[in-house]
């Protein structure tokens, strides 16, 4: 069976996607893109769960994926609300403009 090798490759894929998402979050200044990248990261995490679940033939991985999806949905809803709010206040979606947390 190719299972073991494949699972490894799936994990590698998940890692690549996660890193790409992270790069997106770090590199982009547009808050929309950062959020999109975060979705990618969540997806990657979900992928890892599913792969693990399928490797052992257990439903737990998919349950966790569901939790991740829920999290992602809720996060996106709130984050996008915040984005709207930010844009209303600053007329910009550039996160580098938001430095009020500076110590």
């Amino acid at each position: 069976m190719v299972d073991v090798a494949l699972i490894d490759h799936v994990f590698i894929l998940a890692a690549i996607l996660f890193c790409l998402g992270l790069v997106g979050v770090l590199v982009r200044r547009n808050i929309i893109f950062m959020l999109i990248s975060m979705e990618i990261m969540l997806n990657a995490a979900g992928l890892a769960f599913i792969a693990a679940g399928s490797a052992w033939g257990q439903p737990d991985g998919q349950v966790m994926f569901l939790a991740v999806v829920t999290l992602g949905a809720a996060e996106v809803a709130v984050a996008l609300g915040l984005t709207l709010l930010l844009f209303r206040r600053y007329q910009s979606v550039d996160v580098d403009n938001l430095k009020e947390l500076r110590g």
Binding site: L26, M34, V95, D96, R102, G103
Partner: protein, 614 residues
């Protein structure tokens, strides 16, 4: 009558309280009545006591009166108790008698001053403290009087407070004497530790019982007490305050800085003479201090131009004689000289006050001149005073000084060298005294003079003049209180020299300052003598020395560290915290993406740790 002893300090103190409560708002007549009257009554009580005292047999010539127990701690139990013996009584005469005359004089002298009541408030307190000092039966109480007179001295030197210079002089007087007082206090501590008592009579008898002759402890205590005496009596090396103390009103100079307070050191040593007798070294030191001081201040007096400063240096010099007398064991001569000195020096100061007042507060003798005609009474009394100071027979000063000089010659702690110094001092005394006398009263009149006449001015002067003239015949009741020195037989030549040299001095002064012989004057106005004179004028540069050695470093240290370096210690902590905070806050740059990166990095590290160590 002896029961009334407490009234002697009590009356002046009551006067002080009344004047203090009056807040300077009482009419001047009342102020005078209280201020002068209280001291007068004290003098009267002293007189009554003396009458009874003289009536008792010689052996029982002491009286003790305990008013209340002052402190009580462990074995220390000093009381507010008075002790009267011949020595104390002699001092009481001087303090209340001369004090009363000076008060009387001051009621005229200070009449125009706006702070007239304050003056008597201070002086009454002074008399009370001085009497307390003299009557104290223990050293703690003596210390109370000792500090009390120091305070009053401070207050009175700085009496005219608007001039900061007066304040400086007053502070100097207080602080310099405090140095001596500290030594005195340490002496008390040591005495108490060694003997367990501070009662003077007990301590003295315990001292002879405990210590052998020339014991180190006794010497140390004696030297420490000498430190106190040196400070209070303006002797070497703490003499620098007295000339500056002349900033006070002239009656103050007469009362405190001539007749009474400055002689407290002499009294202290006489009071504790048992201790000194135990230690040849201490006696020797006292004698040396005396002779050095009298010479040094004599030379300084030669060059001064301020009338009061000349008198101040002469006071230091005369007290030097008293110390010398103490140092050679001529206890009663010292007290005798103390009394005669009180008479003629108070007389000189009061007369000087009259002169200064009549020439509109001019104190430079070279700006007076020829006052003989304008001021006949001061002229006469000043002459008497000068004769007393020069110790020409038959004035009172002659008797006392002669006793001292003779004692020095034959004493083991004295000797011929010290005797020579003392006689040289007498010679110089004659020169500077008559220099002052001739310059002030003879020659051309430089300023207009208006003599202040009246009862208050003339009576004290005349009474004091009489005392200064005949005081030498008084018999002080000292035989029971102080060991008798015995009649010193000295070679005739010695005695003649001692008497003749002052006369030569007067003659020299006459030639120099009355006849004004040019050649002699030339000698003093040129060459090395002139710079020597400048050196003398500065008081042998002692002020300069102390200024460099003590005052300037202390002030510089205080200025440098006025912000308290220790305060920087917590500041280091807080600065470190602030620095750390700034470092940390660098990471809080508000960049969302930076936060993400650090979070990622941190979780990476955590995971790596978990993976590679787990």
């Amino acid at each position: 009558m002896l029961d009334w002893l407490w009234l002697v300090p009590g009356l002046p103190f009551l006067g002080f309280l009344i004047l203090f409560a009056g807040q300077g708002k009482m009419p001047k007549r009342w102020t005078t009545l209280v201020g002068v009257g209280s001291v007068g009554l004290a003098a009267l009580v002293t007189l009554l006591i003396a009458v009874e005292f003289y009536g008792t047999p010689e052996a029982a010539l002491t009286y003790r009166q305990t008013l209340w127990t002052w402190m009580e701690a462990g074995s220390l139990k000093p009381g507010f108790s008075l002790y009267l013996d011949g020595l104390a009584l002699s001092m009481l005469f001087v303090i209340t008698g001369v004090g009363f005359l000076i008060h009387l004089y001051a009621s005229g002298y200070m009449y125009e001053d706006e702070d007239f009541p304050r003056f008597f408030t201070y002086t009454n307190l002074f008399v009370a403290a001085m009497v307390m000092l003299v009557l104290a039966d223990n050293l703690v109480l003596l210390f109370l009087g000792w500090e009390g007179v120091g305070l009053c001295s401070y207050l009175l030197i700085g009496f005219w407070y608007r001039d900061p210079e007066n304040g400086r002089c007053a502070r100097k007087a207080f602080i310099v004497t405090r140095i001596g007082d500290t030594a005195f206090a340490i002496g008390l501590f040591l005495l108490f530790r060694e003997l367990g008592t501070l009662d003077i009579q007990d301590a003295m008898s315990a001292a002879t019982a405990t210590w052998p002759r020339d014991s180190g402890t006794a010497t140390l205590i004696a030297v420490l007490l000498l430190g106190g005496a040196v400070g209070k009596s303006a002797q070497l090396p703490l003499q620098t305050w007295l000339p500056d103390a002349m900033a006070g009103p002239t009656p103050v100079s007469a009362l405190i800085h001539a007749a009474t307070m400055v002689t407290a050191g002499v009294y202290l040593i006489a009071r504790t003479h048992v201790l000194f007798q135990l230690s040849t070294d201490a006696m020797q030191l006292v004698a040396l201090v005396g002779v050095l001081t009298l010479l040094m201040s004599g030379f300084t007096a030669l060059t001064q131009t301020d009338l009061k400063r000349i008198l101040a240096y002469s006071t230091i010099s005369q007290i030097g004689y008293m110390f010398l007398a103490l140092g050679v064991g001529a206890w009663s001569s010292a007290i005798f000289h103390l009394m005669t000195h009180a008479f003629f020096k108070a007389l000189l100061f009061l007369t000087a006050g009259s002169i200064i007042l009549s020439v509109h507060h001019q104190q430079d003798i070279f700006k007076m001149g020829g006052l003989r005609k304008a001021l006949p009474v001061p002229f006469a009394t000043f002459l008497v005073g000068c004769l007393g100071l020069t110790a020409l027979p038959p004035t009172s000063g002659f008797f006392s000084k002669e006793q001292i000089l003779n004692a020095v010659w034959s004493s083991p702690t004295g000797g011929q060298l010290i005797w020579a110094g003392a006689v040289l001092g007498a010679f110089i005394t004659a020169i500077y005294t008559f220099r002052m006398f001739f310059i002030v009263f003879f020659g051309e009149q430089q300023t207009e003079a208006h003599e202040h006449k009246g009862f208050k001015f003339h009576v004290p002067l005349i009474v004091l003049a009489v005392l200064a003239a005949v005081g030498g015949f008084f018999h002080l009741p000292l035989t029971s209180a102080l060991p008798h020195a015995g009649h010193d037989h000295v070679p005739l030549g010695v005695e003649v020299t001692a008497i003749a040299l002052p006369m030569v001095g007067v003659l020299l002064a006459y030639l120099l300052f009355y006849r004004q012989i040019p050649a002699l004057r030339q000698l003093f106005e040129t060459g090395p003598l002139k710079s020597l004179a400048a050196f003398f004028y500065s008081g042998w540069a002692m002020d300069w020395l102390y200024d460099r050695l003590l005052v300037k470093p202390f002030v510089a240290l205080a200025r440098w560290n006025s912000k308290d370096l220790v305060d920087q210690l917590p500041a280091v902590v807080s600065r470190g915290a602030a620095l750390f905070h700034r470092l940390l806050s660098l990471s809080q740059n508000g960049q969302l993406r930076y936060y993400v990166a650090t979070m990622a990095l941190a979780s990476l590290v955590v995971m790596a740790v978990a993976v590679y160590t787990g």
